[in-house]
Symmetry: D2
Subunit: 339 residues, 4 copies
């Protein structure tokens, strides 16, 4: 199942050590302004090597558009984009040929598919998420044209046991990107960086959380029952390797969950922007929890692994949320209101 | 989107105050032993009026099988089952005709579909979940034949701010059902009952959490990327109205998430039975968080509403998880291992 | 695979000798005027026992609406409708328990599903098509509101080796229904009736063809590549048991197919209303070929079988074509034109 | 809708005058022997310029594998393959910028998508079918491993009004490929060639028919109702641009359709290998009708268009049929028989 969405549909392909990774976006309406550069900008936000706290691997990740765009507009046909793997260093991985990496899914995948790709993570590699960023960039281009009110911003809200304060409304991606941690809390983010660097040097790793905020969703967005906005978001975020929990609601929802209903429902933002499975016009809020990366100790030395994946996962979460929204906008369009 | 699953596929229909609710299960293999009574037993576990702590509404919820089963075996054709609504009391709801119920999705649904069903919750009613219990009972009948190792047990793990101890391995549904709260922690469950009754009398309500444990999953169960076991589980549980968070992992995962990776990965159960998106042979563990019900104060008086939905939601979660597993087992069958 | 369509989606269920058959239509927009009687009228056109040339079985086929419609308007929720089997006479079929009926799919289904339903055709029975007529009636109700230009009319164009003249434009269902054969050619239809009656008395049967005409389709209706209007129509009609061929184009297309291109393309109607897979604004024309029914000789005596299925298949084909169109209209809506 | 199949799923992309075309095959089991060369061989059978009777365009159509295959075996991950467009000559098409090509879908596509790609046919180009041949080659590789009894052979059975004799059983692809027409009837094929050349010189074109035979299908292959083997085949073949009719049955079926049932059903091969929608163990036979190509007169001069598309369509039909079969084999696997 390498396809996500029904009407705005992303298919991803490619192994971390094969010739290329890529994405097909089928269902984007015709006439949407879209350039290769827009997608490249999105990929650059996810790219390794952006700061000292991420992996030192240098992957230029240059995207090439193969179809679906002509004269900087979408054609309404499938948009295909690929990224060549240039820094494969499969020699590094040759030694892993006979052994499963501890904490990784290697043993499980070998049991399932028998024929494991010893060149590296294959499809379980976090590198697969670059395909989602491509899809997300197209989703955002579409939404920018048809529902320009929508603004999706994600940020790191927890690193290890350091929890950030809730940022004020109106947070922008620029503010998030201003610090290598992608945490907007100025009181804590330098300490976050320090801890990540310390972990990196020790061959250790750190998990935490990312919050996503979406403003400007059309009221009623979502489909009933199994297509509920929160069900779709859950599937989208649950499909990301390191994600281990999803909460729909404000950042402190799990603390409020123990309150009696009269108290809980007195505060309007408790629904995280979703009621009856549909957007209710308030900002949508989601908190996503991440495990610490599993590559540790001697395996983590050499700097080719991220000690903390969240700063680079921020654009991936934005991409997945934008893909869900674009799909639901097309569903919404499909059934216009009664006159 | 009233259909869930790809190969083992549940479609639900019916409004809470229409003539009937029902389910179609398409894709169940032929020859599976299945009786009406098996489905009825499952529905009885979800039925209102089982104890003083649930709604006093008396809904007999008798299921009728319309197709797909002959001489107590499935035919391989779609299994249709319906439950007539006998206790509609739509007069009670007539007064709601002009007003939206506070905390409910009424306003959002009216915005989306224009034409709201003023007879009650319609499709947003928790009553829709009985259709899922029907589907779950069929999924369990199928799994009992083809993967009899699987044992799925859910239990209430938190009510308000009372959190239960983690039960010992080997917990059974009989043990869970032995108390009206469906919490297996003998040290706390009577207090849980008392708090629910107090809330009921006060027109208040309580949220909390349910944990699901699945033992005996085949190693490798799940599909890559967007079909990951955890993504599917997330969509399944996120589609339940009151659910507001899903965590894949042991009950205390969110406390461990702040640990450094070396510590986190040292304990084998941290993965909740899922690695690389696939079952790893350990018990699968999921914690699901519930909002307190939104029907409060004068609206909640008269006893026709649940002050705490979790005891009755336990079989619904088991049903959804069983549906996911049955679907993934068929996917697993579809692609036999290389020789 | 008992579901057809993506956005306007029909699921059918029920065995010919089980308690009931039925249909779920998921995806019909809210607010569409729809009554039980509209569906009943459609079913009555398919019902057996309408004339001496069809089966003498008397199946009242009364439809009951279980969900999705309130105060004669659709709610936007799944529409469930069932028809009880009242004339099962399973005793008649008891004798078939040990034997496969010649020319029927019994042996193939037993090989596939092991567990054959000896009560009759089960899901392979033509009786399943009543579920499609239910779906078609809902599709037509929707189209009548949102694309009222569309007019779909099918008629019998061949019985045995008698081929009808092509009717003039503007043919109506009333004109078609005016004769028991549902053939509008007054010069030939009485002879058709006579031949059907002769076949009936002899335990013989007759095949032939049905033509479908659709006027008023929006230009551009259809989806590219695998969602082409003609691909969808082919799947829809190819899913009907007795259908053995589908031709998109005017009734005499197969005679024109041997013409050189310059001659073929000189006549505008050669495309049957479809170009590049999309509706081109001309009337859509489809010819569908039917095998003679397989129930023959002593098995056909007693009058419980149709010697010629086409007169009763006319509303089934209209239903399937309307379902395809409704689904494609929703797809069309989903992607509004660039501004 | 650029995706075909459910479990063995082909997605195609690429415009005829964009940078590349390609295919993603998702769902092929792991461990299937597959090389780039196997796919290239299949593409070479479809390639233009194979003989004097096809277009003189020289498109080398070299395929590159981007993912899903490692050490000449499938990984169970999506297989991505692309073909660069090297012979675009978009200058040729620049003059078409302002005008719609007669007989083509240009006007309809512009109405639908507003933004037409004036570089050529775009997605309506027959060039899109090379992506299907890639998918078909993978399907055949899979079937060769898991159901090696299956043999699929297509051949040209009609060119203009010349109809070939039915070939003897055991026909091979080598025998079909032995003549530029891909017609195995030695008595008529040279005359077919001559007529094609005459049409080519005159700026004219010829349609006709292709027959497909499949031997060795597992009994029971196919899914009930909307997943019937014949419904799937119809959708698959109906999705090919020039196809205008599909008949399931022996080549002379339409002549037999007028026979009384007793006569029709006396001959065992009348079902074309399909009963109740499932394979019955006999060879499956399908006849597909083709319109003459629409590029005519001055537009056809210069030799860059095929006067008769059928010889090159033979491998495309084999590919589509193989894709249907592979998908249905996986469905068959998914639901093992009752014990």
């Amino acid at each position: 199942m390498n396809t996500f969405g029904e009407l705005f549909r992303l298919t991803t392909f490619g192994e971390s050590h094969g010739p290329a990774l890529g994405a097909i976006l089928d269902g984007c309406p015709a006439g949407v302004p879209l350039t290769r550069e827009q997608i490249q900008v999105a990929l650059d936000r996810r790219r390794p090597g952006q700061s000292t706290i991420t992996t030192a691997r240098s992957e230029p990740d240059q995207v090439e558009l193969l179809s679906g765009v002509f004269e900087d507009k979408t054609l309404g046909t499938p948009i295909a984009a690929i990224v060549r793997n240039t820094n494969q260093r499969s020699g590094d991985y040759e030694k892993l040929k006979a052994e499963d990496r501890p904490g990784h899914a290697d043993a499980v995948w070998r049991e399932r598919f028998k024929h494991r790709d010893h060149r590296g993570g294959g499809r379980t590699s976090g590198r697969e998420t670059l395909c989602r960023v491509i899809g997300g960039a197209i989703a955002e281009a579409y939404l920018a044209r048809d529902v320009p009110s929508i603004r999706t911003v994600a940020y790191v809200s927890q690193v290890g046991n350091l929890v950030a304060a809730v940022p004020a409304p109106g947070l922008t991606r620029e503010q998030v990107d201003a610090h290598a941690t992608r945490c907007p809390d100025v009181a804590i983010r330098d300490e976050m960086s320090r801890r990540i660097l310390t972990a990196k040097e020790a061959g250790d790793s750190l998990g935490g959380a990312i919050d996503v905020r979406v403003e400007g969703l059309p009221v009623g967005l979502g489909e009933p029952i199994f297509g509920k906005l929160k069900a779709r978001i859950a599937q989208a975020l649950g499909s990301i390797g390191a994600v281990t929990g999803v909460v729909w609601g404000p950042p402190d929802l799990l603390e409020r969950i123990g309150q009696p209903g009269i108290q809980f429902h007195a505060v309007k933002d408790a629904y995280g922007g979703i009621q009856g499975g549909l957007a209710n016009g308030e900002p949508m809020q989601i908190r996503t929890f991440f495990k610490p990366p599993a590559t540790l100790q001697e395996h983590a030395k050499g700097g080719r692994h991220d000690p903390c994946i969240m700063p680079r996962a921020v654009p991936v979460l934005e991409a997945m949320v934008s893909l869900v929204i674009a799909d639901l906008v097309l569903h919404f369009n499909a059934r216009p209101h009664a006159p």
